[in-house]
């Protein structure tokens, strides 16, 4: 598969594939680690093109840096990826990442992150896996006042199978995490995910929250959600919510009552899951590419 034009056109791009490595200025790549050390906030695109086999990528932010990054992971063969975010003290990362397969194959992702004092990570993830995928995600908030906001949307269809475990460990005082997981499953897809928020003893003033929402769109799709809070400290706030079901009848009624057919209303509601991610992307060709992929999968396409 050739690299699409919208990828070629991305400015300030790190491009890593078996054939080619492109590293722009202000970034070094050594020992599978992208070290970003730019004095000013900038938008970086990182493309991992047609991965296969065992791969590791560490993304390291120096203290006091601020980075916006868009990471696109494309794979077409069995892949085992380790993705590691290391945020130094008072660094800030706004990272959008998407994982895209265009044919069913096994994918294993070990996703980890470590946030030092006052580090702030906003992570928006789109999961367009195909076939069988397994995710183990661990985020450690090791510095006081570290903060993680992670939002994920997965679209699973046909015979896709996903098993995902996400764990956020509050290991310092006044740490903050806010996790939102949305899963849309159609046809015969099965998605199982466990989300664990853990606040260790003595980590006073910490806050841990998670929302998990599963949307079943017909067929014999299945979503299994297992939210869990492990709290060993009194002076904290923690909450979780989980819902799995079909489209809310009241939402459908409201939209239909303005003249929208059930089909159009359903499409609008389902698209609304994607919209916040598109708002982050901003770049039009990327928005079109991601929207097209999303719509194909929702409608049972094979793009």
């Amino acid at each position: 598969m050739s690299v699409p034009a919208y990828i070629h056109a991305l400015p300030d791009m790190v491009f890593l594939s078996e054939q080619e490595t492109i590293i722009p200025s202000g970034i070094t790549f050594k020992d599978q680690t992208l070290h970003i050390d730019r004095p000013e906030s900038s938008l970086i695109h990182i493309v991992l093109w047609e991965l296969s086999g065992a791969q590791t990528l560490k993304i390291s932010l120096s203290p006091y840096t601020s980075v916006k990054a868009r990471l696109f992971v494309y794979y077409r063969k069995a892949t085992n990826l380790v993705l590691d975010y290391q945020l130094g003290a008072q660094s800030s990362g706004e990272i959008f990442q998407s994982f895209i397969a265009n044919r069913p194959c096994a994918f294993s992702l070990t996703h980890q992150g470590s946030l030092a004092e006052k580090a702030k990570l906003t992570l928006d993830s789109l999961l367009f896996f195909r076939g069988t995928s397994s995710l183990k995600e661990n985020f450690d908030l090791i510095g006081v006042d570290a903060s993680l906001m992670a939002r994920t949307l997965q679209v699973a269809y046909q015979n896709d199978r996903t098993d995902r475990t996400l764990s956020v460990r509050h290991q310092a005082k006044r740490t903050f995490s806010d996790i939102t997981n949305h899963v849309i499953a159609t046809e015969r897809a099965k998605v199982k995910y466990q989300v664990i928020g853990e606040i260790k003893k003595g980590m006073k003033g910490s806050s841990c929250s998670q929302i998990n929402r599963g949307l079943l769109m017909g067929g014999v799709s299945e979503i299994e959600s297992d939210p869990m809070l492990l709290i060993d400290e009194y002076d904290v706030s923690a909450n979780h919510g989980a819902s799995i079901g079909q489209i809310n009848e009241e939402e459908l009624f409201y939209l239909s009552s303005r003249g929208l057919s059930i089909d159009v209303a359903t499409r609008l509601i389902v698209s609304s899951y994607l919209q916040p991610f598109l708002d982050v992307l901003q770049t039009k060709p990327l928005i079109h590419a991601i929207s097209r992929l999303f719509n194909h999968r929702i409608q049972g396409g094979t793009s």
Binding site: E250, S256, Q275
Partner: protein, 276 residues
């Protein structure tokens, strides 16, 4: 286009319980009706059943729009035929912008082959939002998400202004509005009044009807319209409530009370254990 909504002997149930008990009502475009009544008498249900809410079941009777029964029509078709319901509790739909929603709603009314002229529509949207004091960023905000109670109600009126229905129910559009917002909503709805729009206002209070003056006033009690009249009824209700009418009609107060809801086994009369 002139329109007529006619409700004939309508009996409606929810979960096996009758909640509308033989309603009759006729509304022509150009008229403004107010429906008042105590809590839980079926006013909002009437609006929702006319719009086609799937929760309710029509046991008997009929609803006709311009002589055509709408009983078998899906919700969206009723809307495109000219019915509108400004809801008491508008739903929040995160991820759907106000503009996309209203544009889709207006576009759904266009005949096949016609397209919405986006530039013109943007100007209409902005102008209407301005008249309702909705702020400049309304188009890009998600539908009703994070809106105050008053903003949600004004957003319903904005949709109504752009969709241009022929018969519109405004279900407690005054609740959650402060004095200034009520004035804005009242003025905007009054501006919309025309020979092409029939309005049915569902309200508890006179204050809304000071701004949007009705031609007819109906009082609903126990799932039926028990009295219809003119504006003089509003003042009487405002001063005396509904007791005079219940007494006049011999409606048993006790029957009006809702059944008490028990919470937990203690409240259900579980035997007390010693020492508790």
């Amino acid at each position: 286009m002139m329109a007529t909504l006619e409700i004939r002997d309508l009996v409606v149930s929810v979960e096996g319980q009758i909640i509308l008990n033989g309603i009759n009502l006729c509304v022509h475009s150009g008229e403004t009706h107010a429906i008042m009544g105590p809590n839980g008498t079926g006013k909002s249900t009437l609006a929702q059943i006319v719009m086609g809410h799937p929760k309710y079941r029509v046991e008997s009777g009929d609803m006709l729009l311009n002589g055509e029964s709408i009983l078998a029509m899906p919700v969206d078709e009723r809307s495109r035929k000219g019915l509108f319901l400004a809801m008491q509790n508008p739903i929040e739909v995160p991820g759907v912008t106000n503009f996309d929603f209203v544009r889709s709603a207006v576009a759904s009314r266009l005949e096949k082959g016609n397209h919405l002229r986006i530039g013109k529509f943007i100007l209409q949207f902005e102008d209407t939002a301005k008249k309702l004091d909705m702020g400049t960023n309304l188009a890009h905000r998600y539908l009703n998400q994070g809106f105050s109670g008053g903003e949600k109600k004004r957003n319903e009126i904005l949709q109504m202004a752009l969709i241009k229905p022929s018969i519109a129910f405004l279900d407690e559009i005054d609740s959650g509005l402060d004095v200034d917002a009520l004035k804005i909503v009242g003025e905007n709805v009054t501006r919309m009044k025309s020979d092409h729009l029939g309005l049915i206002l569902i309200t508890h209070y006179q204050r809304l009807l000071d701004y949007i003056v009705p031609d007819f006033v109906h009082i609903m009690i126990k799932g039926n319209i028990v009295r219809s009249g003119g504006k003089d009824l509003i003042e009487k209700i405002d001063h005396e409530g509904y007791d005079w009418l219940k007494n006049e009609l011999g409606i048993d107060e006790l029957e009006e009370r809702k059944p008490q809801v028990s919470i937990g086994i203690c409240a259900q009369g579980a035997p007390r254990r010693e020492g508790i």
